[in-house]
């Protein structure tokens, strides 16, 4: 029950009781007292003057007036509560709008110095503190990933230089090769981290244009065929409707390739990958599903988390930087779209991306 309903009911009950008390008092003053007075006056006169209907009359009046008055009180109370609680309602709506992405926003104050104004103030200062710590974390990640690049460049360069040395023994060469491999991995992680840190800080500008999504999907399907070939994975483009979206060409290609690559990486030999692009109302729906080990239900909500690795990906069975899906999710949301991942009973994993359609003539 909302505060508004509760308070209205309380208000109506109190009003009703007050009206009843008033009714009783009025009855006493207007009927009982005059009657006693009259009885004193006319004790010796004719005894027939007491009117027995007066009692029922007044009760009738109390009830026939009291109930509509009480109803009026309910309506009035309801309105009053709405009026007094509306600042709280708007405060709630404003607070709901604020997420980690727009912590810079502040709730507007009424400036009439009441309790709600004070509450707004407290909220705002809490938001400011949150905003501050979020910004610090973002800046830290951004700086950390930049700072890592210089030593990484030096490490890679020097390892590669060492590998050029013809006099290297086989063991030394293998060691340097393995170091280089890890350095490549580290580079991918740092690159992914930089991109996400920049995206969090709103520093990645998208180069938006009208993109024929179907062409991108066809292109991506061609790459998928190639990626799937070594493991004899069957690929299928089930549908590819002509659809345009407003987006950044490079980012959308990165998204599609990323999903195609995952669908192959987490597949099984002789498995399948099915891709489709449909129009679903005013959104473009891109689906890609693959066979494989499937994803347990409890893991599903976490697969978009940064550096989250399901059991399947542990033990280096699958190589990757652990940021692919986080990047995919960022690309989709930067395009005002949504992405979800499902894993059915048939161990089929389906990723669905929805992007708003742009109508072209």
């Amino acid at each position: 029950m909302t505060i508004r309903t509760r308070l209205s009911l309380w208000y109506a009950s109190i009003m009703f009781i007050a009206l009843m008390v008033m009714g009783v008092l009025l009855y006493y003053q207007l009927v009982i007292e005059p009657r006693q007075e009259a009885q004193r006056h006319h004790r010796e006169q004719d005894e027939e003057s007491v009117d027995p209907d007066v009692f029922e009359d007044v009760t009738g009046i109390v009830f026939s007036c009291g109930i509509p008055a009480a109803l009026l009180a309910v309506a009035g109370g309801w309105w009053l509560m709405k009026k007094s609680l509306s600042p709280i309602a708007s405060l709630t709506r404003a607070t709901e709008r604020i997420t980690a992405q727009n912590l810079g926003e502040r709730l507007s104050r009424t400036d009439n110095g009441d309790e709600l104004d004070r509450l707004t103030e407290v909220f705002n200062s809490m938001l400011a503190r949150l905003d501050d710590s979020f910004n610090r974390i973002r800046e830290f990640t951004l700086h950390a990933s930049h700072e890592l690049k210089t030593p990484l460049t030096v490490l890679r360069g020097e390892t590669e230089t060492a590998l050029r040395d013809e006099s290297l023994s086989l063991a030394e060469r293998e060691r340097a090769d393995s170091q280089l491999e890890e350095l490549h991995r580290l580079t991918k992680i740092v690159d992914g981290l930089t991109l996400l840190a920049k995206a969090d800080a709103g520093q990645v500008a998208l180069n938006l244009e009208v993109i024929p999504l179907d062409e991108l999907v066809r292109d991506n399907f061609a790459d998928l065929q190639i990626l799937a070939e070594p493991q004899a994975i069957k690929v299928e483009l089930a549908a590819c409707e002509k659809i345009s979206v407003r987006g950044d060409r490079h980012r959308l290609r990165q998204l599609l390739l990323n999903l195609a690559d995952n669908a192959v990486k987490y597949n099984q030999p002789q498995g399948t990958v099915t891709m489709s692009l449909h129009r679903a109302g005013d959104v473009a729906e891109f689906k890609i599903s693959n066979t494989g080990a499937g994803i347990p239900a409890e893991v599903l909500p976490r697969v978009f988390d940064r550096f989250y690795r399901g059991d399947a990906a542990h033990g280096n069975a699958v190589d990757g930087c652990g940021l692919g899906l986080s990047i995919a999710q960022w690309i989709v949301s930067a395009h005002n779209g949504s992405v979800k991942i499902e894993s059915g009973s048939a161990k089929l994993v389906t990723v669905t991306v929805r992007l708003p359609i742009v109508e072209t003539k």
Partner: protein
């Protein structure tokens, strides 16, 4: 062939110098923008490797002044930021190429070489390496008189490799030219495609033309 490397990070400057010297380039080094500008104005270099983040005048500043002075030395920009916008900004300022840090050494060398060749690029419509020919008008490939079927992507890959015949082509370079990806997608797309093209042009023929340079990329040439 003389190259000026402008890089404030001493170790990076040092291994870039070594790598370029190993390829037969004469290498000069500057550690800040003003020195670089003075050096580039005093000496005619064949190419410039220019880091964007420099103390004092930054790489883009140096580049703009050079181009204002009508100095058209090919420039390869290096940057630790690696942003798409920065790349566009660099190319607009007159750079010829852009490489994000950390980079592969071989990639850097390949790009410096490509810079110098750019002006004298092969304009012929028939590319030829040994008995392998590619017609850039009809997109037909032949080896030893036998026609080779190529998909659109395979054609673009082969065309790029043949245009750069004899030179090392790094994976990032291939991704950029053949796929138009300016990010590292972290897949083995390039390797798989190269394998397919190799099957088509090399499997039934001798000598083998398409060679893998371990850890660096690929090169198409007659002698291994």
């Amino acid at each position: 062939m003389r190259v000026l490397v402008v890089e404030d990070e001493k170790k990076t400057a040092s291994f870039v110098r070594k790598a370029l010297q190993a390829e037969g380039f004469a290498v000069d080094i500057c550690h800040n923008g003003d020195d670089a500008l003075a050096a580039a104005s005093a000496t005619p270099f064949d190419a410039l490797v220019l880091d964007i983040m420099l103390p004092g005048r930054d790489g883009l500043g140096v580049l703009r002044v050079l181009r204002e002075r009508k100095n058209m030395t090919p420039v390869l920009l290096l940057s630790a930021r690696g942003e798409v916008n920065e790349r566009v900004e660099g190319l607009n300022a007159g750079a010829d190429d852009y490489l994000p840090k950390p980079f592969e050494l071989a990639e850097l060398v390949a790009r410096v070489r490509a810079l110098m060749r750019r002006s004298g690029e092969n304009k012929s419509t028939t590319l030829r390496v040994a008995d392998l020919t590619l017609d850039t008008l009809t997109h037909k490939a032949q080896r030893g008189g036998a026609e080779i079927e190529l998909t659109a992507r395979e054609y673009r890959l082969l065309e790029f490799l043949m245009r750069s015949a004899g030179r090392l082509c790094g994976r990032m370079m291939i991704l950029e030219k053949v796929w138009d990806y300016n990010f590292d997608p972290g897949t083995n797309l390039v390797d798989v495609y190269v394998r397919r093209v190799r099957e088509k042009i090399d499997a039934n023929f001798e000598p083998k033309l398409l060679h893998t340079v371990r850890g660096s990329g690929y090169v198409l040439k007659e002698t291994p």
